[in-house]
């Protein structure tokens, strides 16, 4: 029997996410998926899952879940304090993120507020079990599809989990090198595809400015507060495709960065596109956090993507490496 999880505290925005549903953008379906896919992969690696199994994406505030019916293995990838208590009345025991824990049926697991970054991932042995939509468990709340009824989790929801290994080895990230997620460096962009809609001085203003992430940012897009960018010839283009990281400049001139739940097409000129390697870092930026941009050429961007991918894979390899980790006991034997 697999464990089930009952939501006790839903938090700010907690959704089921996997690595997304690519391949349907020509039909208007955004790819969705974990905003920080590297962190999702590590959470899954920690509990012995395949990298792309569905997990819970928590936003800023964390939440709480009760484990029902069977024990389960969990791990949290993100900068938060975790607590588990055997019953509502019993004292809580603190658990570290970035390592796996075996939690018994009946225990309540509390995920504290994110101390760095915005998003953290709770993986469960066997994965969160929901019916896939177009090949993915990811939730797209705007179109009410995927995840649990296409919506964010609410108190009282009960989630099924897949078949995890009954006794899985304890795993942790020994290097604790999670710096990539929160690194403070300019966000790399490639100018275009519509940089010719902006005078050179406006592109200079964009690259020289310090912006702050606006609180209205969400999984669809990140809004920036800072210097407005003027259009050379109007704020409308004929609707065209929007890529991950597209930086649109709408009429008011404040940049808008397209993220995982973006609309697939749009009608504002795009001054630049965030490089793939910096999208996860962007997804972890907190409201009010300052950010600057740095123009790169495609070859530099691809090299950074290679570096990032190798960094994620190295951590996944580390988790798979040692088969001699002890089988570890339940938290509350």
């Amino acid at each position: 029997m697999s464990a089930r999880l009952r939501v006790e505290k839903a938090g700010m925005l907690t959704t089921v996410q996997d690595l997304g549903r690519p391949g349907y953008e020509h039909m208007g379906v955004p790819p969705s998926g974990a905003m920080d896919p590297g962190a999702l992969r590590m959470a899954n690696g920690l509990v012995g899952n395949a990298p792309g199994l569905a997990a819970l994406e928590f936003t800023l505030l964390g939440g709480a879940l009760q484990v029902l019916e069977a024990d389960c293995t969990i791990a949290f990838a993100g900068s938060a304090l975790l607590h588990a208590s055997a019953t509502a009345a019993s004292p809580a025991r603190s658990l570290s993120p970035w390592q796996s824990h075996r939690v018994p049926a009946g225990a309540t697991l509390t995920i504290g507020p994110l101390q760095r970054g915005v998003r953290g991932y709770l993986a469960v042995g066997g994965g969160i079990a929901v019916a896939p939509v177009l090949g993915s468990a990811s939730t797209l709340t705007r179109a009410r599809l995927g995840g649990l009824e296409g919506r964010a989790l609410a108190r009282g929801d009960v989630l099924a989990t897949g078949d995890g290994r009954r006794r899985s080895p304890r795993r942790w990230l020994a290097s604790r090198d999670t710096g990539w997620f929160y690194r403070d460096a300019p966000i790399g962009v490639i100018l275009g595809p519509q940089q010719d809609h902006f005078a050179p001085a406006e592109i200079g203003r964009f690259l020289g400015a310090t912006y702050r992430l606006a609180p209205q940012s969400d999984r669809m897009g990140l809004r920036l507060d800072g210097p407005a960018i003027a259009h050379a010839r109007g704020a409308d283009i004929i609707t065209d495709p929007i890529a991950a990281g597209s930086i649109q400049i709408p009429g008011a001139g404040q940049p808008l960065i397209a993220m995982n739940d973006r609309q697939t097409t749009g009608g504002y000129p795009k001054i630049a596109t965030v490089i793939s390697a910096d999208l996860p870092r962007l997804a972890q930026m907190r409201p009010g956090q300052p950010l600057r941009f740095e123009a790169l050429d495609p070859a530099q961007a691809v090299q950074r993507w290679r570096d990032y991918t190798e960094w994620v894979h190295a951590r996944e390899d580390e988790l798979r490496a040692d088969p001699n980790f002890p089988i570890f006991p339940l938290l509350f034997p």
């Binding site: 690519p22 391949g23 349907y24 953008e25 020509h26 039909m27 208007g28 379906v29 939509v133 177009l134 705007r142 179109a143 009410r144 599809l145 490639i190 275009g192 595809p193 004929i238 609707t239 065209d240 495709p241 890529a243 991950a244 990281g245 597209s246 609309q263 697939t264 097409t265 749009g266 795009k270 596109t273 965030v274 490089i275 793939s276 050429d297 495609p298 961007a301 691809v302 993507w305 290679r306 991918t309």
Partner: protein, 255 residues
């Protein structure tokens, strides 16, 4: 990065530009018309044929006058994708266009299903019946599917019905809305926010997850609207509860 495509095909060569490190954007002439869109869709068709054959090629997303090609830059380089686009442009220029499917879409105009019909008619100094007549006259073409799952953007709207978008978008509009925004008209597939004018609603479900292929319309399809009254709307909406009653294109047209 700008690369001149090597093939002209008797037209001005489309421009190929980078949209980040894993997308190339192919741009045809900057206008909304059937001929330009047909070139986009022909290229899309040719490139989609390569999706499973070319390692690293991930997505082909056509729009009105442009097309995005997504790839994994660790598996295939910009230059190789550019070459593939060039070859596909050449192939698509000589491939006969497939006959489009044609759909006769029932629409209940005005009333509770088209709350902006009267205001839009007033704005143009037209009687609502004239708006309906002008909206049902053309054979539209699905220029693209975008924005949200299954949302069909149509080309061919009567210029007399071109209407600037609403100053204040609505937070919630129903699935099946037939709406007008600027020079465009569209069939909404899912509920969602919209700044367009709602002139009617179809009982058809153009995004229906009960089917393995949930999308009813695709770019290149032809659409004709047929006015229905509220009783017929209710009757057809009830029929849609049965997945076996899925709408079909008109027989004898299309593949």
């Amino acid at each position: 990065m700008t690369t001149d495509a090597p093939i002209s095909c008797g037209h001005a060569a489309p421009r190929i530009v980078a949209a980040g490190d894993r997308t190339l954007l192919v741009e045809f002439p900057d206008r909304i018309d059937a001929e330009t869109n047909a070139r986009v869709l022909a290229l899309s068709h040719a490139l989609r044929g390569s999706l499973r054959k070319v390692r690293g090629l991930q997505s082909v997303v056509p729009a009105y006058r442009s097309l995005a090609v997504g790839f994994d830059p660790l598996l295939i380089g910009h230059d190789a994708v550019c070459e593939l686009i060039g070859r596909s442009l050449q192939a698509s220029a000589f491939a006969p266009a497939p006959a489009p499917r044609r759909w006769e879409v029932p629409v209940c105009y005005g009333g509770a299903h088209g709350i902006d019909l009267q205001a839009l008619a007033d704005q143009h100094g037209l009687d609502p019946a004239r708006v309906i007549a002008r909206h049902t006259a053309p054979v539209y073409r699905v220029y693209m599917v975008g924005f949200l799952p299954g949302f069909a953007y149509l080309g061919g709207l009567d210029p007399a019905l071109h209407t600037p978008r609403r100053a204040m978008p609505r937070a919630h509009t129903p699935a099946g809305s037939i709406n007008i925004g600027g020079q465009q008209t569209a069939i909404a597939s899912v509920p969602g926010p919209s700044g367009w004018h709602l002139i009617g609603r179809t009982p058809w479900r153009s995004f229906d997850l009960r089917h393995a292929d949930p999308f009813l319309f695709e770019a290149g399809d032809e659409i004709v609207f047929t006015p229905i009254d509220e009783d017929e709307f209710e009757r057809l909406a009830a029929l849609q509860d049965d997945p076996a009653r899925r709408p079909q294109p008109l027989p004898g047209v299309g593949p």
